[in-house]
Symmetry: C2
Subunit: 347 residues, 2 copies
């Protein structure tokens, strides 16, 4: 089964880029040529010929009866503030996958055992060619099952807790949260902050530990000793109320705190409420909530994650050895917002 | 093709409700019975027997080789504040669909013609059994194509602009925005507001016109004459900045305005910024942004929408006549928030 992922085919975007027009214009040339000026039409047709672009690769699809399919789990409604990230990833996966002739199919599951039952059902029905999992952990029975049954898969998220991160059978893509938080902290220090705190999750979550490590590295590079750093750090369970309480406690202890980096937009919102917007706060995930309120945040660049995940599945299909090439670490983007429209009102 | 949609089968939720336990407990009984107390295990097994529940209906699925599949279009990343609604709808559709043995498959399209090419591809490959469209309009070539090719489909959204809303070939489910906005306006008046304004989209969008109509009805019932209502209403294109400008203009004209209902959470956020949070604002869609900031909003209840859409597809499958029974209008839920955590800080 671990085969048959198609190679990268030219896409509407490629044609648009080569012809120097928008994707919409390419679509118009294909669908309603009368609305496009002749010169533009010619440029687009030249690009199509040059790239060998075929709309929706229908010839190939008809030959193989159906498009290759990747299965993605979708959880029930109610992702809160941070659920938006996985939704954005799904959008990116659907769009980028389709450019390569892949279709995304959704399934749901209440727990890992339930998810394995779903794997079995989808595999037995020959309904999917690969799986994309949103996370994994040490001793995860799901990845064990997929490896044992020779199924192509990639995870968004490192296999936390697994000693050998370069397991050649486990392809993964992840976002380098440590790098993003370090960069955000460095930017705050460069802008004159003297006391940058960190509000993160309790130790033990791989993702959260990495984010805290990035902040600690930046402070160390700036000459803070470890005792000073420790005093500037506090933990809270994910939640607006718990983030607010922890930020209050930290501010009581450290009244001169003049910036705060957090492990999530949810914690960041709690911190903003606790500080009344007087202390710059950086969240993580750059959710619509961060954008609407106008606080800084670290963007996971899910589009890059989706492209990397599909590249890795392509490599599985071509039975390449994985090794370090079976893993991709995406650098997130720090989105600094000086003063959001709503945040400005708080001050 | 327009057949084969399975009947409603008992679900984990049904078992959980009958046994008086959580879904997680049902899953535990099925997967890790050792962690569940014996009395609880017995109650769950009794409920399973009574309902005839079969986990994931695998027997039926194996018999038919694959699950029935519904295709849903997913747009590129970047839905902003209000994009969350369609994502929540997709989650609900995946979960509720799976309870009935249906799998959701995603496709993308840049315009209606492109979407029809996708329909053709999916139909030719026998890859899907039904389509769910997120909206439609007068003369929509997509629904015309689906009807012409005898494909089962349902739309989330009324076919705006089509003279006969009860077209027996067009099944749709929609949210009664007029009802929701009327109810929100009535609640504001009942709480003592004397001058409730409306900030909506320019006339011509069916959805926006309905929302404005609900507000106008509530004012009329409360004894406002039409000239007074007209003075309390203003329009803006969808956007935070345009909403802010329009709300400012309305407040200059009507300084005694003491509440504002809007056509979207995006416009509501603009209005909140314009008023500095001094005037209660009601948005539409109850997005994570409304929840995080803490302003009131009208919830589309996408879970009910998903269930209704699946019921309608089931009716298509049984070749029932559609008529009025081919349409469902869901009543939204007004979520009044007295003072959100962040909003409280503004005052």
């Amino acid at each position: 089964m671990a085969g048959g992922m198609p190679k990268r085919l030219p896409t509407v975007s490629d044609v648009a880029a080569l012809a120097g027009v928008s994707r919409q214009t390419v679509s118009n040339v294909l669908n309603s040529p009368a609305v496009v000026r002749e010169g533009t039409r010619e440029r687009v047709h030249t690009a199509i010929a040059e790239l060998g672009y075929r709309p929706h690769t229908s010839a190939r699809r008809l030959r193989t009866q159906r498009a290759a399919t990747i299965a993605v789990r979708l959880d029930p409604v109610g992702g809160g503030i941070s659920g938006a990230v996985l939704d954005r990833f799904l959008h990116a996966l659907a769009e980028r996958g389709e450019e390569r002739g892949l279709t995304v199919m959704l399934y749901t599951a209440v727990d890992p055992d339930d998810e394995i039952r779903q794997f079995r059902r989808l595999v037995d029905a020959a309904a999917v060619d690969a799986f994309v999992l949103a996370s994994t952990y040490h001793g995860d029975p799901r990845t064990e099952w997929l490896i044992e049954h020779d199924q192509a898969f990639v995870t968004f998220g490192r296999p936390w807790g697994i000693p050998d991160l370069t397991d050649p059978k486990h392809f993964w893509v992840d976002v380098d949260g440590r790098h993003g938080v370090r960069e955000a902290t460095e930017q705050l220090l460069a802008r004159g902050a003297r006391s940058v705190g960190f509000l993160g999750w309790p130790a033990g979550s791989g993702t959260g530990d990495e984010r805290r490590a990035g902040w600690a590295e930046a402070l160390r590079d700036a000459g803070f000793d470890d005792a000073r750093s420790a005093a500037l750090s506090i933990v809270a369970e994910e939640g607006v109320a718990s983030g607010r309480e922890a930020a209050r406690a930290l501010l009581e202890r450290e009244p001169h705190l003049d910036a705060l980096v957090t492990a999530s937009d949810t914690l960041a919102l709690g911190a903003l409420i606790a500080t009344g917007g007087r202390v710059p706060v950086v969240g993580f995930d750059n959710t619509p909530v961060a954008e609407a309120i106008g606080f800084s945040s670290i963007d996971q660049r899910v589009d890059e994650v989706a492209v990397a995940a599909l590249d890795l599945l392509d490599a599985v299909g071509r039975a390449q050895s994985a090794g370090p090439s079976g893993h991709r670490l995406i650098e997130p983007r720090v989105v600094m917002r000086e003063s959001g429209p709503l945040l400005g009102l708080l001050r």
